[in-house]
Symmetry: C2
Subunit: 193 residues, 2 copies
Protein backbone atom coordinates (compact mmCIF):
# COMPACT_ATOMS: atom_id res chain seq x y z
CA UNK A 1 0.00 0.00 0.00
CA UNK A 2 1.43 3.39 -0.92
CA UNK A 3 1.80 6.30 1.52
CA UNK A 4 -1.24 8.09 0.16
CA UNK A 5 -3.52 5.13 0.70
CA UNK A 6 -2.00 4.69 4.15
CA UNK A 7 -2.75 8.35 4.86
CA UNK A 8 -6.40 8.00 3.87
CA UNK A 9 -6.70 4.88 5.97
CA UNK A 10 -5.07 6.65 8.91
CA UNK A 11 -7.43 9.63 8.63
CA UNK A 12 -10.43 7.32 8.42
CA UNK A 13 -9.27 5.26 11.41
CA UNK A 14 -7.91 7.96 13.74
CA UNK A 15 -9.64 11.16 12.60
CA UNK A 16 -12.29 12.49 14.93
CA UNK A 17 -15.03 14.60 13.39
CA UNK A 18 -16.21 17.37 15.71
CA UNK A 19 -18.62 20.29 15.75
CA UNK A 20 -18.12 23.07 13.22
CA UNK A 21 -16.45 21.03 10.48
CA UNK A 22 -13.50 20.12 12.74
CA UNK A 23 -11.36 17.10 11.87
CA UNK A 24 -9.00 16.17 14.67
CA UNK A 25 -6.00 14.10 13.66
CA UNK A 26 -4.23 14.59 16.95
CA UNK A 27 -2.87 11.06 17.07
CA UNK A 28 -0.39 11.49 14.22
CA UNK A 29 -0.30 15.06 12.93
CA UNK A 30 -1.30 17.77 15.42
CA UNK A 31 -0.51 16.81 18.99
CA UNK A 32 1.16 13.44 18.88
CA UNK A 33 3.44 13.45 15.83
CA UNK A 34 4.07 10.10 14.16
CA UNK A 35 7.55 11.04 13.03
CA UNK A 36 8.23 7.94 10.93
CA UNK A 37 4.95 8.30 9.06
CA UNK A 38 5.38 12.04 8.50
CA UNK A 39 8.85 11.34 7.08
CA UNK A 40 7.20 9.19 4.45
CA UNK A 41 4.78 12.01 3.64
CA UNK A 42 7.76 14.38 3.46
CA UNK A 43 9.39 12.06 0.96
CA UNK A 44 6.21 12.20 -1.12
CA UNK A 45 6.32 16.03 -1.10
CA UNK A 46 9.90 15.77 -2.27
CA UNK A 47 8.95 13.44 -5.11
CA UNK A 48 6.27 15.94 -6.22
CA UNK A 49 8.46 19.05 -6.05
CA UNK A 50 11.88 17.46 -6.65
CA UNK A 51 12.66 19.35 -9.85
CA UNK A 52 11.60 22.79 -8.58
CA UNK A 53 14.88 23.97 -7.02
CA UNK A 54 13.22 24.56 -3.66
CA UNK A 55 15.69 26.25 -1.31
CA UNK A 56 13.34 27.13 1.58
CA UNK A 57 10.21 25.75 3.19
CA UNK A 58 7.73 28.15 4.79
CA UNK A 59 5.10 27.08 7.29
CA UNK A 60 3.12 28.52 10.19
CA UNK A 61 3.34 27.75 13.89
CA UNK A 62 2.62 25.46 15.60
CA UNK A 63 1.21 22.40 13.86
CA UNK A 64 2.98 22.98 10.54
CA UNK A 65 6.45 22.86 12.06
CA UNK A 66 6.76 19.08 12.45
CA UNK A 67 5.79 18.12 8.90
CA UNK A 68 7.79 21.06 7.50
CA UNK A 69 11.01 20.03 9.28
CA UNK A 70 10.67 16.37 8.38
CA UNK A 71 10.00 17.32 4.74
CA UNK A 72 12.87 19.83 4.57
CA UNK A 73 15.43 17.07 5.12
CA UNK A 74 14.69 15.64 1.68
CA UNK A 75 15.13 19.04 0.06
CA UNK A 76 18.22 19.69 2.17
CA UNK A 77 16.92 23.18 2.93
CA UNK A 78 15.95 25.20 6.02
CA UNK A 79 12.45 25.82 7.35
CA UNK A 80 11.10 29.24 8.26
CA UNK A 81 7.94 29.31 10.32
CA UNK A 82 5.69 32.37 10.37
CA UNK A 83 4.79 33.46 13.88
CA UNK A 84 1.28 34.29 14.97
CA UNK A 85 0.88 37.58 16.74
CA UNK A 86 -2.06 39.43 18.21
CA UNK A 87 -0.28 42.75 18.37
CA UNK A 88 -1.00 45.28 15.68
CA UNK A 89 2.47 46.73 15.94
CA UNK A 90 4.01 46.90 12.53
CA UNK A 91 7.70 46.35 12.89
CA UNK A 92 9.89 47.51 10.06
CA UNK A 93 12.01 44.37 10.11
CA UNK A 94 9.20 41.86 9.43
CA UNK A 95 6.81 41.00 6.62
CA UNK A 96 3.23 40.87 7.89
CA UNK A 97 0.01 39.36 6.62
CA UNK A 98 -3.45 38.77 8.04
CA UNK A 99 -5.09 35.38 8.61
CA UNK A 100 -8.72 34.85 9.45
CA UNK A 101 -9.31 31.93 11.79
CA UNK A 102 -12.76 30.48 11.15
CA UNK A 103 -12.32 28.14 14.11
CA UNK A 104 -11.72 31.00 16.55
CA UNK A 105 -13.69 33.64 14.61
CA UNK A 106 -10.97 36.25 14.69
CA UNK A 107 -8.16 37.76 12.66
CA UNK A 108 -4.53 37.53 13.61
CA UNK A 109 -1.30 38.65 12.01
CA UNK A 110 1.52 36.39 10.94
CA UNK A 111 5.04 37.70 10.66
CA UNK A 112 8.38 36.61 9.22
CA UNK A 113 11.65 38.45 9.76
CA UNK A 114 12.76 40.08 6.54
CA UNK A 115 16.22 38.57 6.88
CA UNK A 116 14.76 35.05 6.48
CA UNK A 117 12.95 35.60 3.16
CA UNK A 118 15.09 36.83 0.29
CA UNK A 119 14.14 37.82 -3.28
CA UNK A 120 16.18 34.93 -4.72
CA UNK A 121 14.35 32.32 -2.60
CA UNK A 122 12.28 29.57 -4.21
CA UNK A 123 9.84 28.75 -1.45
CA UNK A 124 7.65 25.72 -0.91
CA UNK A 125 4.74 26.26 1.48
CA UNK A 126 4.01 23.24 3.68
CA UNK A 127 1.05 22.97 6.04
CA UNK A 128 -1.07 20.33 7.74
CA UNK A 129 -4.53 21.49 6.58
CA UNK A 130 -6.15 23.44 3.80
CA UNK A 131 -9.80 24.41 4.23
CA UNK A 132 -10.82 27.98 3.44
CA UNK A 133 -7.24 28.83 2.47
CA UNK A 134 -6.71 31.89 4.64
CA UNK A 135 -3.39 30.71 6.13
CA UNK A 136 -1.92 29.55 2.81
CA UNK A 137 -2.90 32.79 1.07
CA UNK A 138 -1.28 34.77 3.90
CA UNK A 139 1.93 32.72 3.63
CA UNK A 140 1.96 33.37 -0.13
CA UNK A 141 1.54 37.10 0.64
CA UNK A 142 4.65 37.03 2.85
CA UNK A 143 6.69 35.35 0.09
CA UNK A 144 5.50 37.89 -2.47
CA UNK A 145 6.20 40.81 -0.11
CA UNK A 146 9.79 39.54 -0.07
CA UNK A 147 9.89 39.40 -3.87
CA UNK A 148 10.59 35.67 -3.66
CA UNK A 149 9.06 32.89 -5.76
CA UNK A 150 6.23 30.63 -4.56
CA UNK A 151 7.12 27.21 -5.96
CA UNK A 152 3.91 25.65 -4.67
CA UNK A 153 2.01 24.46 -1.63
CA UNK A 154 2.19 20.97 -0.16
CA UNK A 155 -0.72 20.10 2.11
CA UNK A 156 -1.29 16.95 4.13
CA UNK A 157 -5.10 17.13 4.31
CA UNK A 158 -7.26 19.20 1.98
CA UNK A 159 -10.97 19.70 2.62
CA UNK A 160 -11.86 19.83 -1.05
CA UNK A 161 -15.47 20.83 -0.38
CA UNK A 162 -14.20 24.11 1.08
CA UNK A 163 -13.12 27.01 -1.17
CA UNK A 164 -9.39 27.06 -0.19
CA UNK A 165 -8.04 24.74 -2.88
CA UNK A 166 -9.73 26.69 -5.69
CA UNK A 167 -8.56 29.98 -4.15
CA UNK A 168 -4.93 28.83 -4.03
CA UNK A 169 -5.01 27.44 -7.59
CA UNK A 170 -6.70 30.55 -8.99
CA UNK A 171 -3.78 32.55 -7.67
CA UNK A 172 -1.55 30.47 -9.94
CA UNK A 173 -0.01 28.45 -7.11
CA UNK A 174 0.68 24.78 -7.78
CA UNK A 175 -1.13 22.84 -5.08
CA UNK A 176 -0.35 19.26 -4.07
CA UNK A 177 -2.53 17.78 -1.34
CA UNK A 178 -1.76 14.27 -0.14
CA UNK A 179 -5.31 13.50 1.01
CA UNK A 180 -8.36 15.24 -0.45
CA UNK A 181 -11.61 15.01 1.47
CA UNK A 182 -14.71 15.16 -0.69
CA UNK A 183 -17.18 15.16 2.20
CA UNK A 184 -17.18 14.65 5.93
CA UNK A 185 -19.91 14.18 8.52
CA UNK A 186 -20.45 12.39 11.80
CA UNK A 187 -23.23 10.33 10.17
CA UNK A 188 -21.49 9.27 6.97
CA UNK A 189 -17.84 9.51 7.94
CA UNK A 190 -15.13 10.68 5.56
CA UNK A 191 -15.13 10.32 1.79
CA UNK A 192 -12.05 11.04 -0.29
CA UNK A 193 -11.76 12.33 -3.84
CA UNK B 1 35.17 20.21 14.76
CA UNK B 2 32.46 18.32 16.67
CA UNK B 3 28.77 19.32 16.75
CA UNK B 4 29.04 20.84 20.20
CA UNK B 5 31.90 23.14 19.25
CA UNK B 6 29.98 24.05 16.10
CA UNK B 7 26.96 24.86 18.25
CA UNK B 8 28.95 27.18 20.52
CA UNK B 9 30.44 28.88 17.49
CA UNK B 10 27.01 29.26 15.93
CA UNK B 11 25.56 30.78 19.11
CA UNK B 12 28.49 33.18 19.36
CA UNK B 13 28.22 34.18 15.71
CA UNK B 14 24.44 34.34 15.21
CA UNK B 15 23.05 34.83 18.72
CA UNK B 16 21.67 38.28 19.46
CA UNK B 17 21.65 39.39 23.07
CA UNK B 18 18.66 41.57 23.93
CA UNK B 19 17.11 43.34 26.90
CA UNK B 20 16.03 41.22 29.87
CA UNK B 21 18.49 38.37 29.46
CA UNK B 22 17.11 37.45 26.03
CA UNK B 23 19.25 35.40 23.65
CA UNK B 24 17.78 35.27 20.15
CA UNK B 25 18.97 32.41 17.99
CA UNK B 26 16.31 32.96 15.35
CA UNK B 27 18.61 32.16 12.47
CA UNK B 28 18.91 28.44 13.19
CA UNK B 29 16.70 27.37 16.10
CA UNK B 30 13.60 29.51 16.74
CA UNK B 31 12.28 31.10 13.56
CA UNK B 32 14.49 29.90 10.74
CA UNK B 33 15.28 26.26 11.45
CA UNK B 34 18.57 24.94 10.12
CA UNK B 35 17.27 21.42 9.61
CA UNK B 36 20.58 19.81 8.67
CA UNK B 37 22.33 21.27 11.71
CA UNK B 38 19.49 20.37 14.08
CA UNK B 39 19.64 16.79 12.77
CA UNK B 40 23.23 16.65 13.94
CA UNK B 41 22.19 17.92 17.36
CA UNK B 42 19.42 15.30 17.39
CA UNK B 43 22.01 12.63 16.69
CA UNK B 44 24.00 13.89 19.66
CA UNK B 45 20.92 13.60 21.91
CA UNK B 46 20.53 10.05 20.65
CA UNK B 47 24.15 9.26 21.46
CA UNK B 48 23.61 10.55 25.00
CA UNK B 49 20.33 8.72 25.68
CA UNK B 50 20.77 5.74 23.32
CA UNK B 51 20.64 3.08 26.04
CA UNK B 52 17.61 4.49 27.88
CA UNK B 53 14.80 2.75 25.94
CA UNK B 54 13.17 6.06 25.10
CA UNK B 55 9.81 5.42 23.42
CA UNK B 56 8.41 8.97 23.38
CA UNK B 57 9.72 12.51 23.16
CA UNK B 58 7.81 15.31 24.90
CA UNK B 59 8.25 18.97 24.05
CA UNK B 60 6.27 22.20 24.17
CA UNK B 61 4.92 24.31 21.33
CA UNK B 62 6.11 26.05 19.26
CA UNK B 63 9.89 26.31 19.21
CA UNK B 64 10.54 22.86 20.68
CA UNK B 65 8.73 21.02 17.90
CA UNK B 66 11.43 21.23 15.23
CA UNK B 67 14.32 19.93 17.31
CA UNK B 68 12.04 17.31 18.93
CA UNK B 69 10.88 15.88 15.57
CA UNK B 70 14.37 15.83 14.10
CA UNK B 71 15.69 14.11 17.24
CA UNK B 72 12.85 11.57 17.38
CA UNK B 73 13.91 10.03 14.07
CA UNK B 74 17.05 8.64 15.71
CA UNK B 75 15.03 7.11 18.52
CA UNK B 76 12.41 5.88 16.04
CA UNK B 77 9.68 7.17 18.35
CA UNK B 78 6.82 9.68 18.17
CA UNK B 79 6.80 13.24 19.52
CA UNK B 80 4.07 14.66 21.71
CA UNK B 81 3.99 18.40 22.12
CA UNK B 82 2.27 20.06 25.07
CA UNK B 83 -0.09 22.83 24.03
CA UNK B 84 -0.15 26.21 25.66
CA UNK B 85 -3.54 27.44 26.77
CA UNK B 86 -4.78 30.55 28.47
CA UNK B 87 -8.08 29.03 29.48
CA UNK B 88 -8.51 27.85 33.01
CA UNK B 89 -10.93 25.14 31.97
CA UNK B 90 -9.86 21.86 33.39
CA UNK B 91 -10.80 19.16 30.94
CA UNK B 92 -10.99 15.64 32.26
CA UNK B 93 -9.21 14.18 29.26
CA UNK B 94 -5.93 16.15 29.58
CA UNK B 95 -3.04 16.39 32.01
CA UNK B 96 -2.41 20.01 32.97
CA UNK B 97 0.50 21.88 34.49
CA UNK B 98 1.38 25.54 35.02
CA UNK B 99 4.31 27.39 33.48
CA UNK B 100 5.50 30.83 34.48
CA UNK B 101 6.83 32.86 31.58
CA UNK B 102 9.45 35.29 32.86
CA UNK B 103 9.66 36.88 29.41
CA UNK B 104 5.94 37.71 29.33
CA UNK B 105 5.46 37.96 33.10
CA UNK B 106 2.45 35.68 33.24
CA UNK B 107 1.37 32.14 33.98
CA UNK B 108 -0.11 29.82 31.40
CA UNK B 109 -1.26 26.23 31.42
CA UNK B 110 0.16 23.49 29.27
CA UNK B 111 -1.90 20.43 28.44
CA UNK B 112 -1.38 16.97 26.98
CA UNK B 113 -4.20 14.58 26.07
CA UNK B 114 -4.23 11.66 28.45
CA UNK B 115 -4.33 9.20 25.57
CA UNK B 116 -0.85 10.33 24.44
CA UNK B 117 1.00 9.75 27.73
CA UNK B 118 0.79 6.24 29.14
CA UNK B 119 2.14 4.77 32.40
CA UNK B 120 4.49 2.47 30.50
CA UNK B 121 6.09 5.35 28.57
CA UNK B 122 9.77 6.18 28.94
CA UNK B 123 9.81 9.84 28.01
CA UNK B 124 12.68 12.08 26.96
CA UNK B 125 11.97 15.81 27.31
CA UNK B 126 13.50 17.89 24.50
CA UNK B 127 13.49 21.68 24.41
CA UNK B 128 15.41 24.53 22.86
CA UNK B 129 16.21 26.53 26.02
CA UNK B 130 16.62 26.02 29.74
CA UNK B 131 16.82 29.12 31.92
CA UNK B 132 14.70 29.24 35.08
CA UNK B 133 13.36 25.77 34.37
CA UNK B 134 9.65 26.46 34.62
CA UNK B 135 8.74 24.80 31.30
CA UNK B 136 10.88 21.69 31.88
CA UNK B 137 9.50 21.24 35.39
CA UNK B 138 5.96 21.56 34.03
CA UNK B 139 6.68 18.96 31.33
CA UNK B 140 8.07 16.62 34.00
CA UNK B 141 4.85 17.19 35.99
CA UNK B 142 2.76 16.05 33.01
CA UNK B 143 4.82 12.88 32.65
CA UNK B 144 4.50 12.13 36.35
CA UNK B 145 0.75 12.82 36.32
CA UNK B 146 0.56 10.07 33.70
CA UNK B 147 2.58 7.71 35.89
CA UNK B 148 5.22 7.50 33.16
CA UNK B 149 8.99 7.61 33.55
CA UNK B 150 11.10 10.72 32.89
CA UNK B 151 14.22 9.37 31.23
CA UNK B 152 15.87 12.78 31.14
CA UNK B 153 15.90 16.19 29.52
CA UNK B 154 17.87 17.15 26.43
CA UNK B 155 18.34 20.88 25.99
CA UNK B 156 20.00 22.74 23.15
CA UNK B 157 21.02 25.87 25.09
CA UNK B 158 21.28 26.06 28.86
CA UNK B 159 21.77 29.37 30.65
CA UNK B 160 23.83 27.86 33.44
CA UNK B 161 23.87 31.08 35.48
CA UNK B 162 20.09 30.75 35.91
CA UNK B 163 18.58 28.35 38.49
CA UNK B 164 16.84 25.98 36.01
CA UNK B 165 19.61 23.41 35.57
CA UNK B 166 20.03 22.96 39.33
CA UNK B 167 16.25 22.75 39.78
CA UNK B 168 15.92 20.00 37.18
CA UNK B 169 18.89 17.99 38.55
CA UNK B 170 17.69 18.33 42.14
CA UNK B 171 14.45 16.68 41.05
CA UNK B 172 16.52 13.66 40.06
CA UNK B 173 16.19 14.26 36.33
CA UNK B 174 19.21 13.53 34.17
CA UNK B 175 19.99 16.71 32.27
CA UNK B 176 22.05 16.91 29.09
CA UNK B 177 22.54 20.37 27.63
CA UNK B 178 24.47 20.70 24.38
CA UNK B 179 25.64 24.26 25.02
CA UNK B 180 26.04 25.71 28.52
CA UNK B 181 26.29 29.47 28.85
CA UNK B 182 28.30 30.60 31.87
CA UNK B 183 27.64 34.31 31.34
CA UNK B 184 26.13 36.59 28.76
CA UNK B 185 26.10 40.33 28.28
CA UNK B 186 26.01 42.87 25.47
CA UNK B 187 29.39 44.22 26.64
CA UNK B 188 31.30 40.97 27.07
CA UNK B 189 29.41 38.64 24.75
CA UNK B 190 28.80 34.99 25.53
CA UNK B 191 31.03 32.73 27.62
CA UNK B 192 30.48 28.98 27.75
CA UNK B 193 31.19 26.55 30.57
Amino acid sequence: MCELQLLEERIRRDGKIGEGDVLKVDSFLNHRIDVRFLCELGQEFHRLFADCDVNKILTIEASGIGIACLTAQFFNCPVVFAKKTKTNNIYSDVYTSKVHSYTHQRDYDIVVSKEFLQPEDRVLIIDDFLAKGSAIMALADLIEHAGAHVVGAGIVIEKSYQPGAELVRSRGIRLESLARIRSMSVEHGIEFL
